[in-house]
């Protein structure tokens, strides 16, 4: 039970008891004035009063307790609803965290990927430099050769006749003899 509720009940009962005590005193005073104090009639009156007072006190106490119980029940229900609200809010908050971490991670991953790409490109440059140089060289050579083209010509020449052969041989022999003279 809430201490505040207990205090309310205590104060209410104290006030009730104070009023009851005052009423008792009034009854005694009246009995004294009537000369009936301590008599049978007075005792019956006091007894009736006490019974009624006890009943009223119990009714007051139970009413206050009932009120407290209902308030507590209501507050508990509100607690339950609020807790349910909190519980339904938590997944959304967690999702936001996940998205935040995912975004930060994506940025960092992209940064690392960019570094790796740069390293790979540097390695590619160093690996294929000879081939690229050769390719460039070949292109220049091809250009040069285009400016100085070689040629191949083919033609069919008729075979010499026997007379041409004989004349050719004769002139060659004559030339040799001429030279020997």
């Amino acid at each position: 039970m809430s201490p505040y509720q207990q205090q309310v009940i205590d104060v209410s009962l104290q006030e009730f008891d104070r009023n009851a005590a005052m009423n008792r005193q009034k009854m005694r005073d009246q009995a004294v004035r009537a000369g009936a104090f301590g008599g049978g009639r007075d005792q019956v009156l006091q007894s009736e009063y006490e019974r009624g007072s006890d009943r009223d006190r119990l009714l007051l106490q139970s009413g206050l307790l009932q009120q407290g119980f209902q308030q507590a029940q209501q507050a508990r229900g509100q607690d339950f609803e609020r807790q349910r609200g909190l519980a339904s809010m938590v997944p959304g908050l967690q999702r936001q965290d996940i998205q935040t971490l995912g975004s930060v991670g994506a940025v960092q991953q992209a940064q690392e990927q960019a570094k790796l790409d740069a390293q790979r490109e540097a390695a590619r440059q160093a690996t294929f430099l000879p081939q690229e140089n050769l390719s460039r060289y070949a292109g220049q050579v091809a250009g040069l050769m285009g400016g100085y083209p070689g040629q191949t010509q083919q033609s069919f020449v008729p075979n010499p006749s026997p007379l041409q052969t004989a004349l050719g041989a004769g002139s060659a022999i004559a030339g040799i003899f001429g030279a020997l003279k």
């Binding site: 039970m1 809430s2 201490p3 119980f69 507590a72 029940q73 507050a75 508990r76 607690d79 609020r82 807790q83 909190l86 809010m89 938590v90 908050l93 965290d97 935040t100 971490l101 975004s103 930060v104 940025v107 960092q108 940064q111 960019a114 570094k115 790409d117 740069a118 490109e121 540097a122 390695a123 590619r124 440059q125 160093a126 690996t127 430099l129 000879p130 081939q131 050769l134 060289y137 070949a138 050579v141 040069l144 050769m145 100085y148 083209p149 070689g150 040629q151 191949t152 010509q153 083919q154 033609s155 069919f156 020449v157 008729p158 075979n159």
Partner: protein, 121 residues
């Protein structure tokens, strides 16, 4: 009829260049492709000593070329301090709601004094 073929050759220096190019092309086909430094390669099972030596030579040449080309190597700018700070802040905020949720739970439960035990008292 006889076939007569006449070839007109290009200038000697052009021929020399062509021969040199051809030799280089043929030689290049025999060089293994290695894209890592010397420390990153090791002799593979079944690899002959000659083949491994050729790869080692290629790796050395790779290192030399990489060193020579360092000025041309692509680079990536690092994250600046603002970006780092932003990432750190974002990460530090993760789960920041937990204490508040726990606090709210406490306030709703024991704070109100309306737990199940309290009602039965």
């Amino acid at each position: 009829m006889a076939l007569q073929e006449t070839r007109t050759r290009p200038a000697q220096f052009i021929e020399d260049i062509g021969v040199d190019l051809a030799k280089n092309l043929v030689a290049s086909t025999g060089v293994p492709t290695v894209s890592v430094g010397l420390s990153a390669i090791s002799q593979r099972p079944g690899e002959s000593a000659a083949d491994f030596a050729a790869r080692q030579t290629a790796a050395r040449a790779f290192e030399t070329r990489q060193q020579s080309l360092a000025g041309l190597a692509p680079r990536v700018a690092p994250q600046d301090q603002l970006q780092k700070d932003a990432a750190a802040l974002a990460a530090s905020g993760v789960g920041a709601y937990k204490p508040y949720v726990a606090g709210a739970e406490q306030l709703m439960g024991a704070g109100a004094g309306t737990g199940a035990g309290s009602i039965s008292e």
